[in-house]
Symmetry: C2
Subunit: 202 residues, 2 copies
DNA sequence: GTCTATAAAAGGATAGAC
DNA sequence: GTCTATCCTTTTATAGAC
């Protein structure tokens, strides 16, 4: 927990980690206090309540998608299609690093929170939309290698689906091979799309 | 709540519904008592604790996959590939019927329970494995229309991934179109696989 | 096997001094 | 803006009568 952080930042960072490790409901305010070494008064001075911390966490993920996720994943990768798989490889590494115990923080929260209030649900949706938007822009860059009538939003969502479904199964079975097989299937999907373009051109 | 049910059965049925509606942590024992019209003493006579109810619920899903899910979905559908999509259509109907508020009960529990004990995790995994097994048998039946080297387990898992990812996004956006686009992408995947077989044969 | 009452702990949140 | 102490509710689980 770095020194230059405000109380608010400390709380958000700790909550990001704890919600990822344990989920929202299983993380108590006391857990956050313990991890930040703050006292109850400071926390409730910075946030009206626990749910407001969740909102701040989801905003942090939303605003951090490029610096925290995309830019590191794309170091040294220029091809737009390979950038998609580089992003997925980043998740693969995170899964493997945690012995398949933890998955996508947004996906987990999205399925844990059944009766989320509109602010929370809107932020979950925004996180997904932004993630899919990143993929869509890659697809647009690679448009010459993809069918002309391709629905880029649909394929972007399908990439997210592949990631989330792979993470879910890898975590449940505690075996990253489930994730790998999903990525391989998606790779085959892209290959078949590309080949259908080649044949049309020939 | 039918008459001929044992206390245990009443509890499992109520818990299945409540865990699906609200999740495990957000369902209190009091919720289950209220829905079953039982008293605390009866519940704790039938089950040592709340987690044992979860185990029984997951066993019920595991044992009920054919009568509760597969057989109704396959009424009047004989083609093995179409049976896969009929199963997915069943989930689509469930999503639409609930205004996209609820998803796959197993998937939600799998992502909600981060530190599940081995009994629970094993049952979640068994539910996934059985579901994928159903798809794998359809793929085996349609083997002549699929590439000879096809990894049926991998494709079965990919079908589950498509379902879970579609449910996750449809629920988060409260819009079944997200699910539909995922199914359309999977359909295209199957079509491309089939066309690659036709070309090889020609 | 079911009833009522209650224990025991955890959880979210607040008060008021500093 | 942070401290300690504490309130109030919810939650899981138990005790003991019937």
């Amino acid at each position: 927990m770095a020194k230059g952080m405000s109380t608010r930042e400390k709380i958000v960072l700790a909550a990001m980690e704890l919600f990822w490790l344990k989920g929202y409901n299983s993380t108590s305010v006391a857990d956050i206090l313990s991890r930040t070494q703050l006292n109850s008064g400071s926390l409730y001075h910075a946030f009206p309540g626990k749910q407001d911390i969740l909102v701040a966490v989801l905003e942090a993920y939303r605003d951090g998608i490029y610096p925290m996720l995309v830019e590191p994943a794309w170091q040294g990768v220029d091809d737009p299609i390979e950038r998609i798989f580089a992003l997925l490889a980043r998740y693969r590494a995170a899964i493997a690093d945690t012995d398949c115990a933890y998955g996508c923080p947004i996906g987990s929260l999205a399925l844990e929170l059944h009766e989320a209030d509109p602010a929370v649900r809107g932020l979950l949706a925004a996180n997904f939309t932004n993630w899919v938007g990143v993929i869509e822009r890659c697809l647009a860059e690679a448009a010459d290698r993809l069918p002309a009538d391709l629905d880029r939003q649909a394929l972007g969502e399908f990439v997210l689906t592949t990631m989330e479904g792979g993470v879910m199964q890898a975590r449940t079975h505690r075996d990253v091979a489930y994730f790998d097989r999903g990525i391989a299937a998606l790779r085959r999907h892209f290959d078949m799309l590309a080949r259908s373009v080649e044949r049309t051109a020939a």
